[in-house]
C-alpha cells in the first residue's frame, strides 16, 4: 500500500523541515525581540528603523525574500555564509530569509504583548533606578512574552509551513521531496496525504503544548 514511499527519504526531508523551523524560530525570536525593543525604545532613529523594517518586510511575499537571498545575496553579492557546498549555502540562505521575514511577525506579536503591561509598572521600575534596557528585560518583556505565547504560537505554526518556500531555492525539505515524488509516481492523493499528515504531526503538538504553556505562565492581574 505504501509502495510509493520506497526509495524516498521522507523522514530525512522532514528532518530538514524541522531543522529549518527550529533554526529560523530561534533566529527570528532573537531578531524579532530586538526589533520590538527598538520600536518601543526612546531612540527615534531605532524606532524609525524598526517601524520601516516591519512594514516593508511583512508586506513582501516570502517567496520573493527567499529568492532574493539566493539571487541577490548569493549570486550577485557573492555572500555564501561561510560554506562552499551549494546545499549548505542554500540551507543557510533559506534560514536567513525565514528569519528576516518571520521576525517582523514576532516583533508585532511581542509588541501587542508589551501593550498589555501597564505603563505604571515600567515607571515604577524606572523610579527604582533601573535603566531602559533593564526595565525592558526585567519587567516588561517577561510579562510581554507570557501574554504573547498565543500569537507567537501562531507565528511558529506559520513558520513551520512557510519552510516549504525554501523549495524555491532547492533546499531538500519536505515540499521539495513531495514535488519530486508527485512527478515520478503519479500517485498524487496518497503522496499529498502523507505530507499533509507530516505537517500536522509537526504543528498540532506545537499548538497544544504551547497553549498549555500559555495558560500556565499567564500573569495574574
Amino acid at each position: 500500500m505504501f509502495d510509493f514511499l520506497e526509495g524516498y527519504d521522507v523522514l530525512g526531508a522532514f528532518w530538514t523541515t524541522v531543522q529549518l523551523t527550529l533554526l529560523a524560530a530561534v533566529g527570528s525570536l532573537v531578531w524579532g525581540t530586538l526589533l520590538a525593543a527598538m520600536r518601543v525604545g526612546p531612540v527615534p532613529l531605532m524606532r524609525g528603523f524598526g517601524t520601516v523594517y516591519v512594514n516593508i518586510v511583512r508586506n513582501i511575499p516570502l517567496t520573493v525574500i527567499i529568492l532574493f537571498t539566493s539571487l541577490g545575496l548569493n549570486n550577485t553579492l557573492g555572500i555564501s555564509l561561510g560554506s562552499s557546498v551549494i546545499d549548505t549555502i542554500n540551507f543557510r540562505l533559506a534560514v536567513l530569509g525565514l528569519v528576516a521575514y518571520t521576525s517582523a511577525f514576532v516583533c508585532e506579536a511581542l509588541r501587542s504583548g508589551i501593550n498589555t503591561v501597564p505603563v505604571g509598572q515600567a515607571e515604577a521600575a524606572r523610579a527604582i533606578g533601573l535603566s531602559f534596557s533593564q526595565v525592558l528585560r526585567l519587567v516588561v518583556l517577561p510579562q510581554a512574552f507570557r501574554s504573547s505565547v498565543g500569537p507567537l504560537t501562531n507565528v511558529l505554526i506559520a513558520l513551520t509551513k512557510n519552510t516549504t518556500v525554501a523549495a524555491a531555492i532547492g533546499v531538500a525539505e519536505a515540499a521539495t521531496l513531495m514535488k519530486t515524488m508527485v512527478e515520478n509516481e503519479a500517485q498524487l492523493i496518497p503522496i499529498s496525504a502523507v505530507f499533509a499528515l507530516g505537517f500536522v504531526i509537526l504543528t498540532l503538538p506545537t499548538g497544544l503544548i504551547l497553549g498549555w504553556v500559555g495558560k500556565k505562565v499567564a500573569v495574574k492581574r
Binding site: P118, Q121, E123, A124, A127, I128, G129, L130, Q134, K220
Partner: protein
C-alpha cells in the same frame, strides 16, 4: 515590628537642603502645567502638597525624579542637579523613592522579589543580603506573611505597603508619594497612613500629595497649596487648614471640608 537599618534611625534631621527646585517650568503642549515653581525641601522635612485636580501635583512629583522632563529651571537632589537621561540619571533616581496611586507592583514577581529587584540590579547587593533586607522591610510595613504571594493576591492596602517597602529598599534620600491612598477602600487607608506616619517619625524626608487632612496635620511640617500650575500658598499645617490666606485655598478647603 523589628528595627531595620534603613533611613535614619536616630531621627535627627541633618541640616541642609535636600530637594531644590528653581523656577521650574513645564508645558504639555499649550498647557502650562508648572509655572515658575520654586520649592526647597530640607532634610527630614515632610511636605504635603495639596490642591485641586489638574493643578500639577502629580507632574511636580514626576519631575522630581525625572519621569517627566522640565522645559526650564533646575532641580537638584542633595546638591546635585538632575542629569540628562542615562546611567547617571538612573542612579540618582534610585535615591528618590516613589509611591504611586496605583501601586504598580511588578505583576510577574512575588512580593519578596518586588522588594529585592532594585537592590540586586541597581545597588548590586548579593541575593542573600537583599532577601534579608526585603524581609525586614516587609515586616516593618506589616506584610511579612505575604512575602511569597503575587501582587494580584493581595488587598490594595497590602499592595501599597509592599510598594513602600520596595521604594525603601533602595535607601532613598527622599520619598515621593502621589496620592498613595486615593485608590484604596476606606478601611485600608489607615494601614497605609500609619506606615507613612512611622516613616515620618523616623526622619524620612517626604513629599506627599494627599488630601488626607489628618495625615497632614499630624505628620507634615509644611503644606504647599497648588492651583493652576503655581504654588499659591505655603504654611504650617495648622495655620493652613484653620487660617488660609489666599482665596483659592479658602475656596478649595471649603469644598473638601464640607462633604
Amino acid at each position: 515590628m523589628t528595627e531595620v537599618s534603613v533611613a535614619k534611625e536616630d531621627a535627627v534631621p541633618e541640616a541642609g537642603e535636600l530637594v531644590v527646585l528653581k523656577s521650574v517650568n513645564k508645558h504639555f503642549g499649550a498647557l502650562h502645567v508648572l509655572q515658575d515653581i520654586d520649592l526647597t525641601i530640607a532634610r527630614g522635612e515632610v511636605v504635603v502638597v495639596i490642591g485641586p485636580s489638574g493643578s500639577g501635583k502629580s507632574t511636580l512629583c514626576r519631575t522630581i525624579n525625572r519621569l517627566e522632563t522640565v522645559d526650564s529651571g533646575t532641580i537638584a537632589i542633595d546638591g546635585r542637579p538632575l542629569p540628562q537621561e542615562g546611567k547617571e540619571l538612573a542612579r540618582l533616581r534610585a535615591d528618590v523613592g516613589m509611591v504611586f496611586q496605583s501601586f504598580n507592583l511588578f505583576a510577574h514577581k512575588t512580593v519578596l522579589e518586588n522588594v529585592m529587584l532594585g537592590q540586586i540590579k541597581v545597588r548590586k547587593a548579593d541575593r542573600k543580603q537583599a532577601e534579608e533586607k526585603a524581609r525586614a522591610l516587609l515586616d516593618r510595613v506589616g506584610v511579612a506573611t505575604q512575602a511569597d504571594k503575587y501582587p494580584a493576591q493581595l488587598s490594595g492596602g497590602q499592595q501599597q505597603r509592599v510598594a513602600i517597602a520596595r521604594a525603601l529598599a533602595m535607601d532613598p534620600k527622599v520619598m515621593l508619594f502621589d496620592e498613595p491612598t486615593s485608590a484604596l477602600d476606606p478601611e485600608m487607608i489607615n494601614e497605609v497612613l500609619e506606615v507613612m506616619q512611622q516613616l515620618a517619625r523616623d526622619g524620612m524626608t517626604m513629599i506627599v500629595v494627599t488630601h488626607e487632612m489628618g495625615f497632614a496635620r499630624s505628620a507634615a511640617n509644611r503644606v504647599v497649596f497648588m492651583a493652576d500650575g503655581r504654588i499659591v500658598e505655603e504654611a504650617a499645617p495648622d495655620q493652613f487648614f484653620s487660617n488660609p490666606r489666599s482665596d483659592r485655598a479658602k475656596d478649595f478647603l471649603s469644598k473638601i471640608l464640607h462633604h
